[in-house]
């Protein structure tokens, strides 16, 4: 099957989570014998055409600046669409077009009609979800584009059942047009030689348990809940330290909050770290904590599971589906710092329980979140769509 993926980011251009998703998915689809073409934005130092493990990647001109983010995004997509036309003519047609989010959806809708080929789109997130509501004209416009994309898509793929319900409610899409294919994680990336103590000592004393937080420092990621739980943990006699990876507008606020508790020596804000350091941190951390208040999927949870790190998450969005309580991790209510503290103490005090959840979580990773399986399920969606397409009358020549 020949598939054209449209994405506004692809490594080395990494802005959000879509880049690595498309990178892994397109490679896994190629391994299954599909011919995958990806059109994406250009990036300083990246070549206009590249073959990445069999995936054909084309980078097209995206403007350095625009009149506004929306104006930029739309003009960039018109360039993707135009190059898409040339590419499809050059390779004599594609079977199917797959767009990722509204940032490539406009190009997808255009190509769909110009070539009369089915469009599949993945809704990674929604504007309403990201900002918890629609507050201004820019957001309203993006929301309308997302709604349009959902209407035009033959099938919509979401990464969790939570997002399926969200998309179906917000954009009034019937649920039978939405398929859930979860995100994946490559467990082999966490399997490397690491000088454990030398690396760990950079972040904490040997006696301190590392509580790892990974995420942007924005309100919906909920680092404040973890900081509030820390004094309870410490007062129970467990020595622990928060290591927070990520950057964001709330950093100052969280640092002041730790100061107020007198815990600035027990919190470490690392900002952005490179890929390798992050993966090593998962391995040396004693618990990974995801106290989010909104989360479409929660890739951090998967990475912790793949690195054999026990996991505590808040029961929200996609996290709710990744973790089975007391089986592959611990789930606590949103904003409940007492429960979070009890969970931390329990995992640290009960080594048998810790081993049990880590082992189960890793097994779940190997099966549910394996890119080869995900590529198989995605191909299943493609096959369903093409089956319906060939039986229908909407075709280039009828």
């Amino acid at each position: 099957m020949r598939v054209l993926h449209l994405s506004w980011e692809f490594p080395p251009r990494i802005i959000g989570g879509i880049a690595s998703h498309v990178f892994d998915l397109s490679r896994a689809l190629t391994r299954r014998g599909n011919e995958v073409h990806v059109i994406t934005c250009n990036f300083p130092g990246a070549r206009p055409y590249e073959n990445v493990d069999g995936v054909n990647v084309y980078r097209v001109e995206s403007y350095a600046a625009g009149d506004s983010f929306l104006g930029w995004a739309l003009r960039m997509q018109k360039n993707i669409e135009r190059s898409g036309c040339d590419l499809i003519n050059f390779i004599n047609g594609v079977d199917l077009i797959h767009a990722h989010d509204w940032l490539s959806g406009i190009a997808g809708i255009g190509l769909k009609h110009l070539y009369r080929r089915p469009l599949v789109s993945t809704m990674h997130s929604t504007e309403r979800g990201r900002r918890i509501g629609i507050h201004d004209d820019l957001q309203a416009s993006i929301d309308e584009i997302e709604s349009w994309l959902c209407q035009e898509s033959w099938r919509i793929i979401t990464c969790s059942y939570y997002m399926r319900d969200h998309v179906s409610t917000v954009f009034r899409v019937p649920q039978d047009r939405i398929c859930v294919v979860q995100n994946g994680v490559d467990v082999n990336k966490f399997n490397f030689n690491l000088n454990y103590w030398e690396f760990r000592n950079r972040f904490a004393h040997g006696s301190e348990k590392i509580l790892l937080f990974v995420g942007r420092l924005v309100p919906e990621k909920g680092l404040d809940v973890l900081i509030e739980a820390l004094p309870i943990v410490l007062s129970s006699g467990v020595d622990a330290k928060i290591v927070a990876v990520g950057e964001g507008p709330q950093r100052e606020e969280y640092q002041q909050m730790a100061d107020r508790y007198g815990l600035s020596h027990k919190t470490l804000f690392l900002g952005h770290v490179d890929d390798w350091t992050l993966r090593a941190l998962y391995r040396v951390a004693d618990i990974t904590i995801v106290p989010s208040k909104f989360e479409p999927f929660g890739i951090v949870a998967l990475e912790a599971m793949a690195a054999h790190c026990p996991l505590i998450v808040s029961a929200v969005g996609g996290l709710n589906e990744i973790v089975d309580h007391e089986n592959t991790g611990i789930k606590v209510s949103v904003n409940d710092h007492d429960a979070l503290a009890r969970g931390i103490i329990r995992i640290i005090r009960d080594a048998g329980f810790r081993d049990w959840i880590v082992r189960n979580a890793f097994q779940k990773c190997m099966w549910n979140y394996n890119w080869n399986n995900i590529a198989e399920w995605t191909s299943g969606v493609y096959e369903t769509v093409l089956h319906e397409y060939y039986r229908g009358s909407w075709k280039p020549i009828f």
Binding site: D67, S68, L74, R82, I109, L114, S141
Partner: protein, 210 residues
Amino acid sequence: MRVLILTPEFPPKRLGNISDHVSTLAHELVKRKHEVEVVVLDDWRPGFEDVQGVHVHRVANPIKTHPMASVLTYAITASLSMESEAADIIYFYKSMQKNIDVVHCHEWLTVYPAINIKHAFGIPFVLTFHSVEAHRSHASFGPLSIAIKEVEDMGIWESAQVITNTEWLTNEVLRYYGGGHKRKVNVVWPVAKDWVDSVVSVYQKIVEAS
């Protein structure tokens, strides 16, 4: 000849003079036994109408909110509706083993669909300038105007022929977008007696060349 006209306005929608200009052109072409399909942006009257032989396809832009009333985001999202309608027309003719010979677009607002139809189906297009961004906008070095100028520039590069109303506008277009385009810029004075014949001769130039 089979002509597909892309225009931002067509009667009864009137924002400026383009509406009546295109309407006259379309009707005169039909009188001369050409087949004319018009795709026009009209948010209030979407649908198909046969206006005395002129096939008018009015399309709406599903995106209603545009931050800071940006005409650029309006034009780009609307161009998608025009494109899909135009593609449907082209596929309709293809199903009868017929082809559209030439696309005629008016102003930068319809440049994007014309370019993509050219790339997808290989149908060349004529671009008519009724004005240029540098004249319309009094603060024409803002980011929005620069973006629109880029669209006009791209339109000239991609078009097979360009039509302007006057010698003066021709000179202005060449001054802004480069004298190298001179050989493909045609002046059609739209109050001359046989101006529609001049437009047809521009179409014929393209058909002969392709």
